[in-house]
Symmetry: C2
Subunit: 397 residues, 2 copies
């Protein structure tokens, strides 16, 4: 119930924030369009734009033409006003990926430089690693400074303590690492779970683009789940929300899978594939092979797999009731639309729930893309909020 109170200065700050937010959302706008959207008068719009331009936050990027009268100036956010560095940190014990992949983008969202790092440039010292990656990408992009760093990590991040937990990459589990990075490199830092970032990418440019909210089911070596509430992700008290692998399957019973991880995690899927005569190093490969094949064994394997995934799906659907569930992760990607249809069928057969199911629409590295999207969002919000030097928030009890 806390509402803002203030004087004329607050008004000006709000109008600048609103204008900046519209420029960010819409890309390019003329003074006239801005006037329409904010409801402000012509002189005020001009004045606000003058301030933003002088502050280096907005720039004129062109002029209209065609209509009668003078050509209106077209304004946009100044892409050089901030630089975001996104780094995906990976646990390489089970994949062939590089341990680090990173991208640099400007405030407009354009990717300035991107690279994968097959070996750790600072060998176990995260601060050195980030410093080296930042220097490398800045040199390639011709930028001199990074404004914000967004990390994607295979573990959970607790913003309270600034520690990344459950991470198996040397040095990265150190308590207070995030604040240390912020201090050492003079930038703002945020970290997030890789599955959460994949969900953010899915919302911005994937299968969930149009959805108000959704849940993402990650089917890889581990099971994961991200719950998008529309405006933010559900993170949980200790950053542990979505750890669906721990969901138990009833009372402990001998010979039965104990939890969802042992029912539908990577090893369980691989074992299921082997039982159906498929060979391969990982679950992903077996599922990919089965999805391509037209044999009875392939049908049986995928059907059995779908039955298991449908159980995971039902847990999420019953508890959260999202308008959409997106299947992502290596196994889902390998199974594709064929697996999705089998999952939907098994889900309808075994439960009264009717939540729509999709497979991921992303082919690029979802975690890195999500880190860029998330980092951009942070920078843009802090930019807009900083204009709003809020005077006494009239706080609640």
């Amino acid at each position: 119930m806390a509402r803002l109170a203030g004087s004329s200065k607050l008004l000006r700050a709000m109008n600048e924030s609103a204008t900046m937010a519209l420029l960010i959302d819409r890309g390019t706008l003329t003074r006239g369009e801005l006037r329409e959207l904010t409801g402000l008068s012509k002189p005020t719009t001009s004045d606000v734009l003058r301030t933003l331009t002088e502050a280096g936050l907005a720039v004129v990027v062109g002029h209209t033409s065609g209509g009668p009268g003078p050509n209106a100036e077209v304004y946009a956010v100044n892409p050089a006003a901030a630089t975001v560095l996104a780094i995906s940190v990976r646990d390489v014990s089970e994949t062939l990926h590089a341990p680090f992949e990173a991208a640099l983008c400007d405030l407009g969202g354009a990717v300035l430089a991107r690279a994968a790092y097959p070996s750790d440039p600072a060998d176990g010292d995260p601060v050195g690693t980030v410093r080296a990656i930042a220097a490398d990408l800045c040199a390639r992009a011709g930028r001199d400074r990074v404004t914000h760093l967004q990390l994607g990590v295979p573990g959970s991040y607790d913003p309270g303590t600034g520690a990344i937990r459950h991470i198996d990459v040397t040095g990265w589990g150190r308590p207070g690492l995030v604040t240390e990075l912020a201090a050492a490199l003079d930038l703002t830092v945020d970290a997030d779970n890789d599955v959460n970032l994949a969900a953010i990418a899915e919302r911005h440019r994937g299968a969930a683009a149009g959805s108000g909210s959704f849940a993402l089911l990650w089917l890889g070596a581990g099971l994961g789940c991200a719950i998008d509430l529309g405006t933010s992700l559900l993170r949980g008290a200790t950053g542990g929300a979505g750890e669906i692998g721990y969901v138990p399957l009833g009372l402990a019973a001998p010979g039965q899978p104990r939890d969802l991880q042992s029912l539908a995690g990577g090893p369980a899927v691989a074992a299921l594939g082997a039982a159906h005569g498929f060979t391969g190093a990982t679950a992903e490969e077996m599922v990919a092979a089965a999805a391509r094949a037209d044999s009875p064994a392939a049908t049986a394997f995928l059907g059995a797999l779908a039955d298991r995934i449908a159980v995971v799906l039902a847990v999420v659907a019953a508890l959260v009731d999202p308008p959409l569930v997106v299947l992502a992760g290596e196994v889902a990607q390998a199974g594709g639309v064929r697996l999705r249809d089998l999952v939907t069928e098994a889900f309808h057969r075994n439960t009264p729930l009717r939540t729509p199911v999709e497979v991921t629409a992303l082919t690029d590295d979802a975690v890195l893309l999500g880190a860029m999207d998330s980092g951009l969002r942070s920078v843009r919000e802090s930019l807009v909020d900083s204009l709003n030097a809020r005077p006494i928030p009239a706080r609640s009890a």
Copy 2:
């Protein structure tokens, strides 16, 4: 990213809203305290209070004394500015409760009148029923009009369609009933699931009073779960979030419980009690008897029950990671602290999760209390927002 833009009028509206919100939150405030909290100047504070008083929203309820100088006027929200009617609608097929219980309260939250209705005053016509209850309580309280109606129903409510679903009370499942009630009685109406309302009561005056967010596990005839996100409840795409009874327990296996409802729902608990030699009409009675007893059978029954509840708890804890889970509903209430301790012990024994567990602190009808709290919140918010006749919200893409 949408921010408000506007002119001086918006500023005044915001300052009135902020002042009203503070009066609601803090109860009583002097001009000086208000000045401190809003950061506004003396003349502005006076002017805003004058406006609110003339609009009948605020009143002077007393004067300070003791200090030097004139005695400051003490302001408060005018309790007569709105009247909230809360009605708990019940499915009486399995309990001894009255089918309707209702309370009338003023804007300050004081209960003006309260009554249970052992029979339906309009016999299956919800509009007539509400009209009769409103008339009865208004007469007792000496009020002439109800501002807002909050319904608590044993089913789910979809605000999109205005229909209450999965309800077994005659006439109440009719599509569009909520809008019909609003039109026929000339008031605003909201409805919510009974478990959600119990959670709201638990947040306002129960075990979750201090918690930022929490989950409420309802253990009664049916299983339910409410997920409080701090600012709002998770409702789901179709109002079906928290339908935890549908959570499957792995692949269909003969002789095994199929879902959480068949593991820990009322009938399952009653069967478990019977297997341990307890008798009684309902699960609640058996658990209450066991909780009072000190026999080996009681210990065995409660232990087995705790094992099952721990499974339900683990599902919620793994997926949502709330900072607190409150056990509520008849079975939890009957089991009390003894059952809670056994559940915690079983939870720790079988999972790596460490979510704190509490039992409900409410003894009165949680659903009716929650309906009052929820209705009050609605009315207060719409009151504060109505002061903020917002001029073009500078909306986003």
